[in-house]
Symmetry: C2
Subunit: 245 residues, 2 copies
DNA sequence: AGAATAGTGTCTTTCAGACACTATTTG
DNA sequence: CAAATAGTGTCTGAAAGACACTATTCT
């Protein structure tokens, strides 16, 4: 803090969102199509500038990073801020990307956020969200800027988070079955799990899920119990993937 | 990216470092004393602005965030960039803090980094490092800005990292004994571990440590084997703390 | 009935934690 | 010798993975 900040090249700070959801048993990421140079027409992560200003007395005003990320996510999905489905979305900071040449126009630092949601609607046309759509992760290629690296980091974080946290439930509606929860793990990890062992692990893991006391109906087999997310913040013991390599 | 960035209040981007090391079996953090307002005289995490500029052709030049963090760490510890001990330091991005009122002077986004090192020297007087010193973590109180929250997040990250990665070795010299490694866990987690079970876990965990083939001498008991850090990036299975709560 | 899905029980292996015991040094 | 530290062996309980088996629905 020994330097005069005004002596430096001005920098812009943006938030970019890696929003993940599960559709048809496959992991999807929200992408927008760029409407201007650079990378015109290329898919990109949704995002935008963090807003700040000064009031009449010269005091700094503005939104927090978390607020900026929530606002961008709401704008791009077309859900109003405060919408029930948006409030159920898990949003966490992923990391900051600031290579000096990542944007040819100016020095831009992008604070990336990771979002998990269930039942995310198709983005509404108009405004920023003109060309936003949910894309199966393997089809997310040729992304603008360094967004491929950000997406890869987000996927790795998501995979790891499922191991030690009950966040898989953030991909599910408020009430869900063990099978739905298992589909989340299978979609994010890209593997299949034994339904019987998975059931035992989830239901015996303290605070992971809480039974609602109702059953599904209308399905093809035996009706399943419905659960809500439990109070646990971490899973003990974790639900580990097999050792890699 | 639909806004003109120049229409926004200019923002400064800094890096702040949570540098941890172990001295006398206790976890220490590197703190500097602030030489100016705000928070004059209060302890703070070392840090500074990320440098960027434009060359004569108008292209953006500057350092990456990782480079800025490494530079700040080198300046504050007094180790020259490229020094062997500095090259052995583990440095990773922790998170970005950007509340609009975190610095009364202007909008400042701080990208925090977490550093683990062994045998870190006492900071050299002069220049930025005038009042820097290694402080036992429990004595790091009344920090400037939001640095107490950053430090808390760094400590929590460090504790978690020891569980699933071999990074405890980053707190040790190049060659170390199992007992030294155990002291790292005990200092960071603040608990005591059974030396015999710890020895078995560490030496049977694939790729965690590799025996050097030499023994220590001069100690009080039976000489111990020396190890180097192994090639593993993750521990499988992890070395878990007991369940919290 | 047969297919489909939900859920339980059991066996084996692996690993964590407790701790007895052996090994090798210094004083 | 005792004290100190390093390292091995063994037991027990918890949990993972494999998988037989039961339960309940729809067609």
């Amino acid at each position: 803090m020994e330097y005069d900040p005004r002596a430096y090249e001005p920098a812009a700070v943006t938030v970019d969102i890696v929003a993940l959801t599960i559709r048809d048993g496959r992991l999807h990421v929200l992408l927008v199509e760029r409407g201007e140079e650079p990378y015109l027409g290329r898919p990109a992560l949704p995002g935008g500038f963090v807003r700040s200003s000064r009031d009449r007395r010269g005091r700094v005003r503005g939104e927090t990073l978390d607020q900026a990320a929530a606002r961008e996510l709401a704008e791009e999905t077309g859900l109003r801020a405060g919408h029930a489905r948006l409030r159920r979305v898990h949003l966490e900071q992923l990391g900051t990307y600031g290579a000096p040449d990542r944007d040819p126009r100016m020095r831009v630092f992008s604070v990336a956020y990771l979002a998990f949601g269930a039942d995310m609607p198709d983005p509404v046309a108009g405004g920023d969200a003109a060309a936003a759509r949910w894309t199966p992760v393997p089809e997310a290629r040729r992304l603008a800027f360094d967004h491929a690296a950000i997406l890869a980091d987000g996927l790795e974080r998501a995979r790891a988070k499922l191991e030690y946290t009950p966040l898989a439930a953030a991909f599910c509606p408020p009430e869900f079955t063990v099978a739905q929860l298992r589909e989340v793990y299978e979609a994010v990890w890209g593997i299949t799990l034994d339904p019987r062992n998975f059931h035992r692990k989830v239901t015996s893991s303290e605070g992971f899920v809480a039974p609602v006391g109702a059953l599904t109906g209308g399905g093809r087999g035996r009706p399943a119990q419905l659960f809500r997310r439990g109070p646990a913040e971490h899973l003990h013991p974790p639900l580990l993937r097999a050792a890699p390599r």
